[in-house]
C-alpha cells in the first residue's frame, strides 16, 4: 500500500466504519433474522429460535393483510410521487419566474414545512382534517359543500393523508428544482422563443434537459420515501379505518413491535429493500438513457 492509498484509507475510515456498523451489519442481521422465526418465545429464551429458511416469505405470500398493505403503499406512491414532484416543480418554476418578487421570502415560507417536526405537524393536520371542527371542512362549507369524513372513511383516508404528506415534503424538491432552474441558460430560452417555440416546447426541449438530473434525483428520493411511509398514518389514523392506510412499513412495525415477530418483520424489510433497490436501478437505467447520469 503506497502513501496515497494509506491517506485515502485514513480519511475514509471513520465513514466506512460507521457505514459498516450502522448499515451493513444491521442489514446482514435483518437478512439472518428473516430466515428464522424470532418471536416472543425466542425473546424469552433463544433456544426457542428455529431456522425456517424461506418460511416467513412463503407465509407473507399467503397473508391477505400483507397484500393489502402492499396495495396501500403502491396507492400512496402512485398518487404521491407525481403529486409531490409536480407540486414542487410547479412552485419552483413560479418562484423562478422573472416577474415574481420577494423570491427568498416565498422560498422560506414554502420550505418551512419540510424542516418542522413530523409528528407535531401530523397532529395539527389531524385537526385541520377533522370532520366536525376541521379547518378544511369549514372552508368547504363556505362553498356550500357537505363535510367530508376525511380520516374516518376508508375511501378518503389515503387522499387526505397524501395532502399532508405532499405539503410536508415538497419543499425539499422545490429547492433542488430552484437550484437546477437557475442553471438553465437564458440565451437558449430566448433563442428558442425567437425560433417560435411555445411555452410547452421550451419547457420540453430547453428546461427539461437542463433540470433532468435534478428531476431524476427527486424521483429516486421520492419513490424511496413514499414506499417507506409510516409515521404519517401511524400518527393520523393508526393504519385505519379498516386498514386502509396500513402501509408495508406499518405492517412491518406491527409484526415487529406489536406482536414481536422479528423474523417476519425482517422478511418484510428485506422485501421492501429489494423492491426499492430494483425501482432505483430501473430509474437509474432510465436516467442513463436520457444522459441524466
Amino acid at each position: 500500500m503506497n502513501r496515497q492509498a494509506r491517506a485515502g484509507l485514513v480519511f475514509t475510515a471513520p465513514v466506512l466504519l460507521a457505514t459498516i456498523l450502522l448499515l451493513v451489519l444491521p442489514t446482514a442481521g435483518a437478512l439472518l433474522l428473516s430466515v428464522t422465526d424470532f418471536d416472543i418465545y425466542a425473546l424469552a429464551d433463544l433456544a426457542n429460535l428455529r431456522f425456517i429458511g424461506a418460511g416467513n416469505y412463503a407465509e407473507l405470500f399467503h397473508t391477505p393483510s400483507f397484500w393489502r398493505a402492499v396495495g396501500n403503499t403502491l396507492l400512496f406512491a402512485g398518487l404521491g410521487v407525481p403529486a409531490a414532484i409536480g407540486t414542487s416543480l410547479l412552485t419552483a418554476m413560479v418562484i423562478n419566474a422573472a416577474t415574481v418578487r420577494w423570491k427568498s421570502l416565498w422560498r422560506l415560507l414554502l420550505f418551512a414545512p419540510y424542516v418542522t417536526t413530523l409528528v407535531a405537524t401530523a397532529l395539527v393536520w389531524r385537526y385541520v382534517l377533522d370532520t366536525r371542527s376541521g379547518l378544511l371542512n369549514y372552508a368547504l362549507s363556505g362553498f356550500g359543500l357537505a363535510p367530508v369524513a376525511w380520516l374516518e372513511n376508508p375511501r378518503t383516508s389515503v387522499p387526505a393523508t397524501l395532502i399532508f404528506i405532499v405539503w410536508k415534503a415538497f419543499g425539499y424538491n422545490m429547492l433542488v428544482f430552484t437550484a437546477a432552474l437557475s442553471t438553465v441558460s437564458t440565451e437558449l430560452q430566448e433563442a428558442a422563443r425567437l425560433d417560435g417555440a411555445g411555452a410547452w416546447a421550451r419547457f420540453r426541449h430547453v428546461t427539461l434537459p437542463a433540470i433532468g438530473p435534478a428531476l431524476l434525483l427527486a424521483a429516486v428520493l421520492s419513490v424511496a420515501n413514499f414506499l417507506q411511509i409510516f409515521t404519517e398514518p401511524y400518527v393520523m389514523t393508526h393504519g385505519g379505518p379498516a386498514q386502509s392506510t396500513e402501509t408495508v412499513l406499518y405492517f412491518m412495525f406491527d409484526q415487529g413491535f406489536t406482536w414481536w415477530n422479528l423474523g417476519m418483520a425482517s422478511a418484510v424489510a428485506v422485501i421492501l429493500f429489494v423492491a426499492i433497490f430494483a425501482l432505483t436501478a430501473a430509474q437509474a437505467r432510465l436516467g442513463r438513457r436520457y444522459e441524466w447520469l
Binding site: 369524513a149 374516518e152 413491535f257
Partner: protein, 435 residues
C-alpha cells in the same frame, strides 16, 4: 416503624402489611414533620417510576401525594394510552427499560411473564388477601401470582330507560331471543335509529357472547383455535345477525366519534360497555341524569350470560431498582382506601371486598350488576398469543360483517389464522419446552 426510619428508607407502607396503610397515613402526617431533619439528610435521588394507562393513568397523580409524603419516595408517573401500551411494554422489556411499577391489562400477564418482565410477589405477602377470588385467578400464570389485582371490570349492557320503555320493556331482556325481539321493536319504531352499538373494532361484544358457550376458545392444550366449535359458531351467528338485521350500525369507533353524544341523541338504546362508562356517564351527568339510564347483565342464550374476565393489575418489573419500595407502592395503590378513591374518580371497581363494602357499592344498583357480572367472568386462555388472537378474530369478524364471509367460512378462517399464530406454541409443546 422507627427502626425502618433509622435505616433511612422510611418504608412504613410495607408490602407485607398491606392493610396497615390507612393507619399509617394518618400517623405519618405527624411523623413527616418530626422526621423533617432526617428527610433533609436523605438523598432526593430515590424515585420510583410508574406507567399507568387510560383514565386511571390520567388521574393517577391525584392518588400519589399521601404515598410520597409517607415514604419520601418520589413517584415519576408516565401516563400511556391503552392503544400504544402493549407494544410499549414489550419494547421496553426487550430494551430493559421497564418502569419499576406498571399497570397492566391482566390479559397480558402470560406474555409479560413469559419474557421474564415481571418480578414474583414477595413471599408471604398480604397483597392478595381480601381480594375477590376471580380477581386473584386473573393474575395467575400457571399457578404463580405475578401481579396484584387493582381494578375489577366486566362487560354489561348500559341502556336508555326511555327508549327501552317505549317498546314495552323495563330493561333489556337477558335472554338472546327475547333481547332480539326488543331490539327489532326499537328498530321498527324508529327506522333511522338502531337498537344497540356494536362497534366493528371492539372485540368485546363478540367475546362476551363467546364466553357464554361451553366449549373453550382454544383446544389441544391451547395450541389450536376452537372457533369452528358449535358454541362459537352460535355466538358468531348471533353477533352477525345483529348487523344483518340493522340492530347495530356497521361502523368503527373513529366513524362514530363521540359515543355518548350519539347515545344521548337516542341513536341507539343499548350500549354494551365496561366500568369506564360508569365514570364517563357520571362526568356527563348534565347530559345523562341518573334516571335516564340503567345497566343489566350481558344477555345469554338462556338468560343472563357470562362475560370475559377483564381488569387491570399492578406488577413490579424484574429489574426494579428498589423492589421493596416498588411493592410498597403497589400495596398502597391496591389498598381498600385507594381503590375506593379510584372508584370515586373514574368508576373503576375495586377488587378488594373491604373496599367494596366501605364504598357502599353493595347498595348501588349499577355496581351490583357489575358485581354479579364479575362473578360470572370467564378467564381468557392464558397463552402469550392471546392479545393477537383477539385482534385476528375481530378482523375476520369485521370482514364477515362487511359481507366477505358467511358464518361457517369465517369460523374456518379464524381457525386457520389462529392455528398459524399458535404453530410455534405447538412445536414448543411437542419438544416439551413449555408446559
Amino acid at each position: 416503624m422507627l427502626a425502618a426510619h433509622r435505616k433511612g428508607t422510611v418504608v412504613i407502607i410495607d408490602a407485607d402489611i398491606g392493610e396497615v396503610v390507612t393507619l399509617a397515613r394518618r400517623e405519618l402526617l405527624g411523623l413527616a414533620a418530626a422526621g423533617a431533619v432526617a428527610a433533609c439528610a436523605r438523598s432526593r435521588g430515590r424515585g420510583l417510576t410508574w406507567w399507568a394507562m387510560g383514565t386511571a393513568g390520567e388521574n393517577a397523580p391525584l392518588l400519589l401525594p399521601p404515598f410520597e409524603r409517607a415514604t419520601g419516595n418520589q413517584v415519576d408517573i408516565q401516563t400511556i394510552p391503552w392503544t400504544g401500551a402493549h407494544e410499549k411494554l414489550l419494547t421496553a422489556s426487550a430494551g430493559n427499560s421497564l418502569p419499576d411499577v406498571m399497570m397492566l391489562n391482566s390479559a397480558w400477564l402470560p406474555e409479560l411473564a413469559l419474557i421474564g418482565a415481571l418480578a414474583p410477589l414477595p413471599p408471604q405477602t398480604a397483597l392478595l388477601a381480601d381480594q375477590f377470588p376471580g380477581a386473584v385467578e386473573s393474575i395467575k400464570v400457571g399457578s404463580h401470582a405475578v401481579a396484584v389485582p387493582w381494578t375489577a371490570d366486566s362487560w354489561v349492557q348500559f341502556y336508555r330507560r326511555d327508549l327501552v320503555r317505549e317498546v314495552g320493556y323495563d330493561s333489556p331482556p337477558l335472554d338472546w331471543a327475547e333481547w332480539k325481539r326488543m331490539a327489532r321493536a326499537i328498530v321498527r319504531r324508529h327506522s333511522d335509529r338502531h337498537a344497540t352499538l356494536h362497534l366493528l373494532d371492539w372485540p368485546e361484544p363478540l367475546f362476551a357472547y363467546a364466553a357464554q358457550q361451553p366449549e373453550p376458545l382454544l383446544r389441544d392444550c391451547a395450541s389450536r383455535g376452537n372457533f369452528a366449535s358449535p358454541g362459537f359458531r352460535t355466538a358468531l351467528a348471533f353477533y352477525k345477525s345483529i348487523y344483518d338485521e340493522r340492530l347495530s350500525p356497521t361502523l368503527t369507533g373513529a366513524e362514530v366519534g363521540d359515543t355518548y353524544i350519539a347515545f344521548r341523541r337516542g341513536w341507539f338504546a343499548v350500549l354494551p360497555s365496561n366500568a369506564v362508562t360508569i365514570g364517563d356517564l357520571r362526568l356527563r351527568a348534565q347530559m345523562f341524569p341518573r334516571a335516564l339510564w340503567g345497566a343489566v347483565l350481558t344477555p345469554g342464550p338462556g338468560g343472563s350470560g357470562n362475560a370475559m374476565a377483564r381488569g387491570a393489575s399492578l406488577a413490579v418489573s424484574r429489574h426494579a431498582r428498589d423492589p421493596h419500595a416498588a411493592w410498597s407502592l403497589v400495596a398502597y395503590l391496591t389498598s381498600p382506601e385507594v381503590q375506593r378513591r379510584i372508584y370515586g374518580i373514574t368508576g373503576d371497581l375495586p377488587t378488594r371486598t373491604g373496599a367494596w363494602d366501605a364504598a357502599g357499592l353493595g347498595g348501588d344498583p349499577v355496581s351490583r350488576v357489575f358485581a354479579s357480572q364479575i362473578a360470572r367472568s370467564v378467564a381468557p386462555p392464558a397463552v402469550p398469543e392471546w392479545e393477537r388472537i383477539v385482534f385476528e378474530v375481530q378482523q375476520v369478524a369485521e370482514h364477515m360483517v362487511r359481507g366477505e364471509y358467511g358464518v361457517d367460512a369465517a369460523t374456518r378462517e379464524m381457525d386457520r389464522r389462529i392455528d398459524r399464530i399458535l404453530e410455534k406454541r405447538r412445536s414448543l409443546l411437542d419438544r416439551g419446552r413449555i408446559a
